[in-house]
Every structure is written in C-alpha cells, then in structure tokens.
C-alpha cells in the first residue's frame, strides 16, 4: 500500500519534460577531479616551454643544490634547473601519451569492430592477430624496436608504442560488438537496408563510446609510462626533455648517493599524479556505464528497533511501520 502511494506522489510533479543532461559525466566526482588535473597538465604542456624560469639545458654555478627561492626544485650536477626541465618535459610526455593513445584507439576500433561485426574467417584472423600482440610482452618489444632507431623523435616513439599496444582494446571492443550485433536495433537497421559502414558508424559506434573512451585512457597511461621508461633506460635521445630523461640523469649521476631527493622525487610524483588522474577518469567512465560499481556510501544502518543491518547489493530495504510481533 505504502509503495503505491509513494509512486503516485513521485509521478505527479513531473509535468515539464525532463531536460537532457549533457554533462552528466562530469557530475561524477572522480571523473571531474581527473579531468581537472588533466586540464592543468594540458595547459602546462602548451605553455610549459614558454614559462620555464631557466633554459632547462643551460649549466649554472649552483651544482646539486636543494630547493631554494631561485631554483624551486633544486639543481642537477651541471647546475641545471630541475623545475624548468619538468615544465619543458610536460609537452613531450603529453604529446606521446595522447598521440600513441589515438593511434592505438583507431587501430583497435578498426580491428575490434570489424572482427566482431563481420565474423567468420575475418574474425578468426583478426582475433588471432590481436591475441598474438596481447601475449607478446609489449614493453620489451618496444625497447627492441626503438633501440634500433637512431635518435627517434617523439612522434616516432609514439607511433611505435601505439602500433604495439592496441590489442587489449581490440579484444574488449570485439566482445562488446559481438553482444551488440544481434540486438534488435542493429537487426532493424540491417533489415531496412542500411549499408554496413552506416550500421557500424551510426548504430554500433555510439553504443561503444564508453568502451572506446576507457580503452583510450588506459592506452594513454601505458604510453606515458612506456615513454618515460624508454628515456629512463637511455634508449631514446637524451637531448629532448621529458620526465624520464630527468630520472635518467638522476640515476646516472648517483643522485641517491648524494641525497639529492629533489632530483628524482618531482618527476616521479608528476607521473604518478598524471596516472592517477587518468585512472580516475577511467573509474568515472566505468561507473557511468555500470552504476553498480559506484562506491556505495554508508551501508551499515541502525534500524528503529536498534539493530544494525548491513545493506547488500540486490536487497531492497523495507521499512516496517507496524511494530514487530
């Protein structure tokens, strides 16, 4: 009885048509925080090289100095300003991350969706291809390939990373496409005579947006870590700055033995914060698609009778008005 009364009350005031919330995604706190941090990194990537207080490569007289008013993050063994190196390096890191992300995402969409939608022999070949790339350890492969390139530029490194890291997303997309392919709306579109490319771009892709976005974010994290790793182990040229280059010099010049924590802590934190921001965006996407994954808030509740009850998923709480017998 009470249930029907509640529904009546709720239904009545909805007279105006509900507005479509365009930015509902941003309402998720995790996603909003992640996007905010990403925006700050994005701005720094653009203006970073212009606002550096010093030339990142220029030598100075203060060697291995701790942070001070002049050098916010201290100096290196050559008296270079660590803060300037960090700012200068942001551009390269963001560029490689996003460029590789785009390359891998485009590849994975083409391969994954085609495999899932077309099926048959095409599917078998494409699935085998992506499984092979999935199982071969990506980082050693990237190291081997880039080590054969002389003084590779950022875009070339990004291309290598992108071309070797698409397989996971392709696999996920294929599975999702398979489940969408037999849905009624896709069947209907096919029955009305829409061409294959139109079914894929207008019926399937919009429904795959969340999966694609989450795959993109994951690849960006991987690409950033890979680029920094390459620079850290000295595979890529040490003349352009990125955060891995800073760590490379810090490691090579025994920053640890000199207690020069300011030399390697900022770069690592910058990576970790960027990674966290991207992971938060990914959580946001996951929770947006599957609301069950959201943190549940408070689940231990004191009832009227004074007992504590733990709420569980799949259970509907009922408030009993009549006293217990």
């Amino acid at each position: 009885m009470t249930a029907s009364a509640v529904t009546m009350e709720q239904v009545a005031p909805v007279a105006a048509p509900a507005k479509r919330q365009r930015f509902r995604f941003v309402a998720n706190k995790k996603a909003a925080a992640g996007l905010l941090i990403l925006a700050i990194y994005g701005i720094l990537a653009v203006i970073g090289p212009w606002i550096t207080p010093y030339d990142p490569g220029a030598r100075g007289d203060d060697l291995v100095q701790p942070p001070s008013a002049e050098h916010w993050m201290g100096t290196t063994h050559l008296g270079q300003d660590v803060f300037s190196q960090l700012l200068e390096g942001t551009r390269s890191v963001m560029f490689v991350g996003f460029f590789a992300g785009i390359v891998a995402t485009v590849l994975s969409v083409i391969i994954g969706v085609t495999a899932g939608y077309v099926g048959g022999k095409t599917d078998e070949v494409l699935s085998a291809l992506s499984n092979v790339f999935l199982v071969i350890p990506a980082l050693p492969l990237i190291i081997i390939i880039t080590s054969t390139l002389d003084n590779a530029e950022d875009w070339l490194i990004a291309l290598v990373i992108g071309l070797t890291s698409w397989s996971w997303n392709a696999r996920v997309l294929r599975a999702q496409t398979l489940s969408l392919r037999r849905r009624d709306f896709v069947e209907a579109a096919r029955a009305t005579g829409e061409r294959t490319w139109r079914v894929i771009t207008f019926e399937l892709l919009p429904n795959l947006t969340a999966v694609i976005a989450s795959g993109f974010v994951g690849t960006v994290i991987f690409a950033v870590l890979s680029e920094i790793t390459l620079a850290f182990i000295g595979v890529t040229s040490a003349t352009t700055w990125n955060w891995g280059t800073i760590l490379f010099w810090a490691q090579g010049q025994q920053a640890l033995a000199q207690n020069a924590w300011w030399w390697f802590v900022p770069a690592g934190l910058a990576i970790a914060v960027l990674g966290t921001a991207l992971a938060l965006v990914n959580f946001g996407i996951d929770e947006f698609v599957s609301p069950r994954l959201r943190s549940a808030g408070k689940t231990k509740i004191k009832t009227n009778t004074g007992r504590t009850v733990r709420m569980r998923i799949g259970f509907t709480p009922v408030i009993r008005k009549e006293p217990l017998p």
Binding site: A128, N131, V132, L134, V135, I136, P137, A138, L139, P140, L141, I143, I144, S147, T148, L149, D150, W168, R171, I221, F222, L225, I228, T229, F232, I233, G234, V235, L247, A250, Q251, L256, W261, F264, V265, A267, G268, I271, A272, V273, L274, G275, T276, L278, A279, L280, D286, R292, L293, S295, A296, G297, K298, T299, K300, M311, R312, I313, G314, F315
Partner: protein
C-alpha cells in the same frame, strides 16, 4: 582436452610469430648498425662467429630472405643466439641461462603472491562495499600509477643505507659464490626482499580493482540471492558462491596481463642491479649489444608464453565448462 589443444596450438603460433618478428626487426633497420660493430671486433671475431652474425642480422647479401630465414631457424634450434658484444666472447645463450633463474624466481614468486593477495583483498572490498575497504581504492590507484622503477628508487633512498638490513643492489653478498648452501640462500633472499616488495606494491592494486568489480557484478546475480535465502552463512555465500564465480575472469585476466607485468618488473631489476635478464637487457642497451637484446626478448617472450599456458591449465581446473567434451 579440445580446449587445451587449442590453447597449445595458439601458443605455438605466437612463439612462431615472435621469432619471426625477431628475425625481421633487425632487417628493417635503415643502414647497417651491426656492420660498425663487426668492423670494431674484426680482429677478435672468429669466422664462424661472423657467419652466425650474418645470419642473425641479415648482413648476408648473397642469400635471399627465405634462405636467411631457414638458416636463422637452424641456428635457433641448435641454441645458437650469437655472441654477446658486452661480454665478448661469451655466447648469448650462456649469459641468458645464468641470469634467467634470478628473474624467474623473483618475478614468478612475487607475481603469484601479488595475484593471490590482490584477489583476496578484492573479494573483501567487493563484498563489504561501503566499509573501510573503499578507502583502499584511491591509495592503490595512486600506487599503481607510480612507475615500478621510480618506486624502486624511492625504496632504495628511504630504506637502504650503511646500517640498513636491506642491501641496495645486487643479488647476493659480494664475497659469496652462488651455491645452494646456508650462506648463499639467506643472502639471496635478503637481497630479493626489497625488489619483491616494490613489485608487489605496484602490481597488487590492479588485481584488487578487477576482483572488486567482478565481485560487485556477481553479487547481484540471482544465485547469490538464492544462497542467502537458503540461509547459508554470509561467509559461505561470499567464498563459495560469489568469489568462486568472480575468480574466473580474473584468472584469464592474469594470463593476458602477464606480458605487461613482466615488462614492468624488468625495470625493477635495473634499479636494484639485480642479476636477472632485465639488468642484462639494460647493459646490452648501453653497449648496443644487439645479439644479447634479441636473445633476451626471445627468452622473455617464451617465458611469458609458458606462464600463460600454466594459467590456462589453472583455468581449465577452475572452470568445469571448459572440460566439456565436444
């Protein structure tokens, strides 16, 4: 059985693809990076070693690609991976076989521990959603975003020193000879603690997260409700019903992400100067030692394939559906 054979044939195919890739990569290099090295060691290389290098790197202009490919396979099957430049004139296969056990033990054991620990915590976090366990997520997210090697650097900075229990580098005390005796084993364990801890901290969070998400998804299934309705204890429902089913995707995820994990753990070896293949790879990179690099890539790939096969067997035992005949 059919499932098992399918997997084995897939791994054989992948191994073939990796070897072929390894054959092709040096041939796609513009110019002849190895030529310089051959010239450099001209006086010291035996003619047989030069022949072997020609085959490995396609410097042999007389043979066509197919003939080169055949002789490359012949060489691989006899275990000849060429000579290392860094440790001249030691064969690559010898260097790898001396460093591989270190990596297998360190990475193998820590990866399994990390998987078990992460899965256990994930079960807890997924089942008791909304309790303190939700606080695990942001912390572990941050830790997993940190590159493995940077965490290693920080660990060395904070935890090692002249008076510390933890050694900062190497795989055993300098004065010891590798052997299975009461001096060497404790020293080796002591040296591996810090690298293992580093790998554990940065890899455990992925398992926690995926297991939590699977638990959340599974715990709204009907059979969970039925199990509750039957009056089974909460613990039994969580373990035998929810976790048992949530485990399956996590195990197949384990197999697939091994490649990523191994890549990261190699770097920990570099930071700690641990005598495994990762550290060898680092030294090979510094010296442009292409034969050693190629050999290490091959051996890492094959190890990952074998580990994948083991994970598949575990899956076979866990999921009765794969055992169905036909």
């Amino acid at each position: 059985m059919k499932y098992f054979l399918q997997r084995v044939s897939f791994y054989l195919f992948t191994a073939w693809a990796a070897i072929t890739l390894n054959f092709l990569i040096p041939r796609m290099i513009p110019g002849d990076p190895v030529q310089a090295l051959v010239t450099k060691y001209q006086g010291q290389l035996s003619s047989q070693a030069i022949d072997s290098l020609y085959v490995l790197f396609g410097l042999n202009k007389d043979a066509n690609l197919w003939e080169e490919y055949v002789s490359y396979w012949k060489q691989l099957l006899t275990g000849d991976l060429g000579l290392s430049f860094t440790f001249f004139p030691t064969p690559v296969s010898e260097i790898i076989s001396s460093s591989l056990p270190w990596t297998l033990l360190l990475v193998g054991i820590t990866t399994v521990i990390s998987f078990l620990l992460g899965t256990g915590l994930g079960v807890l976090a997924g089942w008791r959603r909304g309790s303190w366990t939700d606080g695990l997520l942001p912390v572990t997210t941050f830790l997993s975003s940190v590159p493995y090697f940077w965490l290693g650097i920080i660990a060395i900075y904070l935890l090692t020193g002249p008076d510390s229990f933890f050694p900062s580098s190497g795989g055993f005390d300098a004065g010891l000879v590798p052997a299975f005796d009461q001096y060497f084993i404790p020293s080796a364990i002591q040296h591996s603690l810090l690298p293992a801890l580093t790998i554990l901290i940065s890899s455990v969070s992925g398992w926690i997260l995926s297991m939590r998400n699977m638990m959340v998804t599974v715990s709204s299934e009907d059979y969970i409700t039925v199990a509750h309705a039957k009056g089974l204890s909460d613990r039994r429902v969580a373990m035998s019903y929810a976790a048992r089913n949530a485990l399956l995707p996590n195990v197949s995820g384990f197999a697939l992400s091994l490649g990523f994990i191994v890549g990261g753990t190699l770097l920990v070896e570099i930071v700690f100067s641990y005598p495994g293949v990762g550290f060898q790879l680092f030294q090979a990179l510094g010296a442009s030692d292409y034969p050693l690099m190629q050999g290490i890539f091959l051996i890492i790939t094959i190890s990952v394939l074998v580990a994948n096969l083991l994970a598949d067997i575990a899956y076979l035992l866990l999921d009765p559906r794969t055992r169905k005949e036909g």
